[in-house]
């Protein structure tokens, strides 16, 4: 392993102070002269034909400048997977949040008032709300033109021989698990502002994870070349997969083009629930064969996903869920099928964890069920099957680094596994103590194809470094991480690295801050680019201090001869010399993995760049009369490869486990006849600080990933995954009964207690 100066240090992020003091400027803080404010008229009904749209009264209302209907959209079709969405509906409504009219006015209030004056005549169509029902012959079709009806897509993971695997088993354990829709709940809702420049270029300021996807999709919708669309991704107040695709950008851009004034659009908190993506509700059938000794011989999984009205990223979510579904265990015989359906519910899409969150829950709950049938310690069952470095992942590719065993050991030790739980009575007679664990495998980037990042660098004449990337920091702290990588590679202080990002007219293309890919792939691009300028600087320095370039290195801004560190020259002098002799020190860096690719029929091949692992353990106290519980201690041990910035890693772990806690215990978008019943934070319950575990211990397990820059893997999404099953397993341990569905509310816990007796 390299000896590292800057990597591994908890360097504070540049924007930390302004974030906590409220000084950060978000899109909504932009108030250019003459700005207009938008509002969207949404269907408010799940399935209907549009008979007539009358914007006459709205257009004449006070302050209204422009009102758009479907006819105003040059190319009214888009979608992250395939174009099944329209910017504005023209013939049909598929869910309650479908947009029909977008308008803008001189104030938010006037725009919202005018939106209420739009008159749309509908003819309601029979709706379909459950995925099971959606697949029945004769069910109402959400997209009548979709070749497979309400089946969006299906697929399977096939590995080994499932029948032979079950034949080897001593017992077979079957159970169905369900999860509900979860909202991203970013503090900052969707916001954007579009401005038309004199050159005809449209600039959109937006809080997004994927500025280049927005650019591409928006250019298509507007009928413009991508050079005429500039996305400026501004400070984001959270994203979590929700700021991943076009939401309001086209409304703002079209209004700006019509009015030639800047136009803002925003989503209300209600619209965040009713008109943007949510986490797919899953029904997960698990069937596992296991020997008496606890060796898993086969696992068969079927996943049924409610995609809602549009496909969004659903196909990828389903496939990743299936590939991660068997969990972090060596299993030679696997069959995992997934079925993604259309319904008239709100549409599901990318959410932190991308499907693997739901299957991590089911898999780890199921592991405890198996352990109970075997009368085996759940820890022992996991240890006996845990993946190791060199084992195949479920897509058959080799796992190049695996710290799972160490995460199991450190997490169980920190929670004091052998001494806690197992239904022990607490001092107060109505409480029972429980312990639970959950392990996890999660892929970095992907999948099935390379998704490279790229970086431009320039060493300035004072030896500071400018790095330009298309990567956006949506709150995860990637800016400081990339600066650390650059500083480490060049051998300069991190303060000397200036990172420029977030402007698609300047930056190299980037697929986006998704798939937990930035530290690994963004880091790789930056390292390669910086490596090139470093080589150029060393070449120049070699001539200046009369040594061979390969004998030189740079540390803390000084070039020195390896083995004779007294022979040195400051990097400033070298950079200045390059500048004076008109030799620009610039580079471009990217890396495209050439070995990625999976078979479409079996999902076998190389799916992902690499894998991270984790184990979380929970100690809980359950009130057996009310079903209420408290998590006394949550330990989260995560293998992240090399931790570039441990403080950032811990932040990700703590934040992710809070989101996982919400999914498992509290959060649930409640649907009734296609309408969200709780589209606000009063009744959509996020955990507050006093609901979260009373104590959280984050443990960073560092492995060295050979494919990663400096051994880096990643941490972002996966920290959400093991929390729900760890806590629910602990509750089940406390009450001696099984829970299958999440969220495990106190009422659900009490029901399990009463049914279990």
């Amino acid at each position: 392993m390299e000896s590292l100066d800057i990597l591994g240090k908890s360097i504070a992020r540049e924007d930390g102070n302004e974030m906590v003091s409220g000084e950060s400027r978000f899109v909504d803080d932009l108030e250019p002269k003459g700005v207009l404010y938008g509002a969207v008229v949404r269907a408010g009904r799940p399935h209907a034909k549009i008979l007539n749209v009358d914007t006459g009264k709205a257009s004449r209302a006070k302050g209204v400048v422009c009102a758009l209907t479907a006819g105003d959209v040059p190319h009214n079709s888009y979608g992250p997977s395939f174009p099944d969405q329209t910017i504005l509906c023209h013939d049909k409504i598929r869910y309650e949040g479908d947009p029909v009219v977008a308008l803008c006015a001189e104030s938010w209030e006037e725009a919202e008032e005018a939106a209420r004056l739009v008159k749309v005549d509908y003819e309601d169509l029979p709706p379909v709300f459950s995925p099971e029902e959606a697949l029945l012959e004769g069910s109402p079709l959400v997209h009548p033109s979709h070749p497979t009806g309400n089946l969006v897509t299906e697929g399977k993971v096939i590995r080994g021989d499932i029948e032979a695997g079950f034949a080897e088993a001593d017992i077979i354990v079957e159970q169905t698990y369900r999860s509900k829709a979860q909202e991203h709940a970013s503090m900052e809702p969707h916001f954007c502002m579009a401005e038309l420049e004199n050159t005809g270029r449209i600039t959109v300021h937006v809080s997004t994870q994927t500025p280049f996807r927005i650019r591409g999709d928006l250019a298509k919708v507007l009928g413009l070349p991508i050079t005429k669309v500039r996305i400026l991704s501004s400070t984001a107040g959270g994203a979590f997969g929700g700021k991943h695709e076009i939401m309001l950008e086209a409304f703002a851009a079209l209004c700006a083009m019509k009015t030639r004034r800047p136009v803002k659009f925003r989503m209300s908190r209600e619209e965040e629930f009713t008109a943007s993506t949510v986490r797919h509700p899953f029904t997960m059938d698990y069937k596992t064969g296991v020997t008496r000794e606890g060796k898993i011989t086969a696992v068969q999984i079927h996943l049924l996903l409610d995609g809602g009205a549009y496909a969004s990223a659903g196909g990828g979510v389903a496939a990743k869920a299936a590939l991660m579904g068997p969990g972090p265990y060596r299993i030679d015989n696997i069959r995992a099928d997934f079925t993604l359906t259309y319904t008239n519910n709100g549409f599901s899409g990318a959410v932190r964890g991308f499907g693997a969150t739901q299957t991590c829950y089911a898999c780890e709950r199921h592991m405890d069920l198996i352990a109970r049938r075997l009368n085996m310690d759940p820890l022992e069952l996991r240890r006996r099957n845990a993946l190791k470095t060199g084992d195949p992942a479920h897509s058959g590719d080799e796992i190049t680094s695996c710290g799972l065993g160490e995460t199991i050991d450190t997490a169980t030790k920190a929670v004091n596994w052998d001494a806690i739980g197992r239904g022990a009575k607490s001092a107060c007679g109505t409480k029972r103590m429980g312990r639970g664990m959950a392990a996890m495998i999660y892929p970095v980037a992907g999948f099935g194809k390379a998704t490279p990042s790229a970086a431009f660098t320039r060493v300035n004449e004072d030896s500071t470094l400018t790095v330009i990337v298309g990567i956006v920091d949506v709150g995860q702290g990637s800016n400081v991480v990339l600066r650390q990588v650059a500083a480490e590679e060049l051998g300069i202080p991190v303060e000397d690295v200036n990172l420029i990002n977030g402007d698609t007219s300047v930056s190299p293309f980037d697929p986006g801050s998704t798939g937990s890919r930035i530290s690994h792939l963004g880091g790789k691009a930056v390292k390669i680019a910086v490596g090139k300028v470093k080589a150029q600087l060393l070449e120049k320095a070699a001539g200046m201090i009369e040594a061979a370039a390969e004998d030189l290195d740079i540390r803390n801004g000084e070039v020195f001869v390896k083995g004779a560190p007294n022979r040195r020259i400051s990097l400033k002098e070298v950079a200045l010399a390059c500048h004076k002799s008109s030799e620009p020190v610039v580079s471009e860096g990217t890396h495209t993995s050439t070995d990625l690719g999976v078979d479409k029929e079996t999902h076998q091949g190389k799916g992902f760049e690499c894998y991270v692992f984790a184990t979380q353990c929970a100690e809980v106290e359950v009130d057996i009369e009310t079903g209420e519980y408290r998590v006394l201690h949550l330990v989260a041990s995560h293998d992240v490869g090399t931790a570039i910035n441990p403080m950032n890693v811990e932040g990700q772990i703590e934040g992710g486990s809070s989101m996982g806690y919400g999914l498992g215990l509290m959060e649930e978008i409640q649907m009734k006849e296609g309408r969200v019943q709780n589209p606000y934070f009063m009744d959509y319950l996020l955990p507050t600080p006093i609901d979260s575990p009373e104590r959280v211990t984050s443990i960073i397990v560092q492995t060295h990933e050979p494919r990663g820059p400096f051994g880096v893997k990643g941490v972002a999404e996966p920290s959400v995954n093991p929390t729900a099953p760890a806590v629910v397993n602990a509750i089940c341990d406390a009450i001696g009964a099984e829970i299958t569905d999440i969220p495990a509310t106190p009422e659900a816990v009490l029901r399990a207690i009463r049914n279990g007796r």
Partner: protein, 288 residues
Amino acid sequence: MRGFDFVTPTTVQAALKATKGKKYKFIAGGTNFMPDLRHDHSGETKLVIDLMRIKSLTGISAAKGTIKLGALTTVTDLLESRLIAREAPILVAMAAKFAGPIIRNRATVAGNLIDGGPAADIAPPLLALKAAVKLAGPRGRRTVALDKFLTGYRKTDIKPGEIITEITFPSPGKNHLHGFYKLARRNAMAITVVGASVVLKMKGGTCQEAGIALGSVTPVPIRCYEAEKILEGNKITLDLAQKAAEACVVVATPIDDIRASAEYRQLMCEVLPRRLICQAAGISIDPS
């Protein structure tokens, strides 16, 4: 949201006078009014009369065995009042579970009651304390017992033009026991699924007088008179607590909603009063 006039009278008389003419609304802390406003596109309210600057409606005091809460007493005032901590600690227990600190700073006792909601957290402990509501209006002043004041779902006995001026209750005395429980799906900023309050005046191990009330299981928080009678005049035992709890279940008429099922609420109507009575009386419960 539409515009409206906003006035800030500083006396009760001025507040009552301000109601003349326009369609008005009184507000105090505004913690119900403000969220409602976001969804009120009717524009019906033309005048909002803010009562928060009427000094005579503030303050917590005790005189001749009666505790008086000015109508504008905030939940934070209850939480921080030494007098309340000494005389009626059940209100401190309630205040600590009420919404969150920011709401507690604004929300008033009278506002919570006047809203008439089934989940009004201030109502059950005040019902158990046998509080009364003092009102002032165009036809003068009057006093109504709280259990008579809360008449139905979002309905109270308030008459047009009236405001609450004070809430009073007899001091339950040094030897009283109490219990408060707010069962909700979250530990802060949550609407109560089932609320229960118990106040027991004791003498020599015997319950002289009991106050038991439930929230969120009837259209409006309710006193459980039968349960109170079961305890009164008796030594408290697990068996008696169980009987009282069963009497609580009888008066509950819970509904299914997005927070819990009626079935769960019904179960909790037995569990919570039993638990509170036993805990107050120092009786251990072991359900296993």
